[in-house]
């Protein structure tokens, strides 16, 4: 079983839709949860960071962590064509490089 599971999509939505991206995980020790965004032919860049459970909002983006269900989500409100990218979840339990785990990424296309 993979440490982190993420639906690869692809996901296509019309402009203005609410998008929900999700990951599940198996290791209850994870404490730090991240979402990276990767545009085509670019490297990933950090989009959202959450420590432990709860919600975090940044503009049109909301990251949600449910540790009891081992489930994290990224919501995008009023989606824009510029949001078209691959979204990778990532999580870790400490500072070490080899305890950072990425999902496989969900490819999102927002259609104008």
């Amino acid at each position: 079983q993979k440490e982190v599971e993420q639906d690869p999509g692809p996901l296509s939505v019309p402009e203005g839709a609410i998008v929900s991206l999700n990951c599940t995980y198996s290791n209850s020790a994870f404490q730090y949860f991240m979402w990276y965004r990767q545009y085509s032919r670019k490297g990933p860049e950090l989009l959202m960071y959450t420590y432990s459970s709860g919600n975090k909002e940044d503009g049109r983006f909301t990251a949600q962590v449910d540790k009891s269900s081992k489930y994290i989500s990224l919501f995008i409100r009023d989606s824009q064509p510029s949001d078209s990218a691959t979204y990778l979840c990532a999580m870790r339990w400490g500072a070490g490089a080899n305890n950072l785990f990425f999902g496989t990424g969900t490819r999102l296309t927002v259609i104008p």
Binding site: K42, G43, P44, L46, Y51, A95, A97, L100, F102, T104
Partner: protein, 115 residues
């Protein structure tokens, strides 16, 4: 802005060749990483380094080695390239820690094809 620069965008090499992938970062970060990214497998850590001259194996180090002679530069070496090393290679750097002020900063990747 942090910049992580990978020397080549695309590389085509033959089986058995020795391949060097170069990465330079300009933010004085202690930590540097090499990942490969494959469809359906996501990002997998090959090697990382916390300091000059230091290196640590990641999850898939077989067939690779690294060199970090200067803080800003981290090189990935494929000693004898094989077709199963055809992939996108991503270099990253970070400052120490786990907080959102120490994220990984990625380069734009090198797409390596081994024929």
């Amino acid at each position: 802005d942090v910049k992580v620069t990978q020397s080549s965008r695309y590389l085509v090499k033959r089986t058995g060749e020795k391949v060097f992938l170069e990465c330079v970062q300009d933010m004085d970060h202690e930590n540097m990483f090499w990942y490969r990214q494959d469809p359906g497998l996501g990002l997998r850590l090959i090697y990382f380094s916390y300091d000059v001259k230091m290196k640590e194996k990641g999850d898939i180090p077989e067939g690779y080695s690294v060199s970090r002679e200067k803080k800003e530069r981290f090189s990935l070496i494929l000693e004898s390239a094989s077709t199963n090393q055809t992939s996108m290679y991503l270099c990253a750097s970070s400052s120490p820690g786990t907080a959102d002020n120490s994220p990984l900063h990625f380069g734009n990747g090198t797409r390596l094809t081994v024929t």
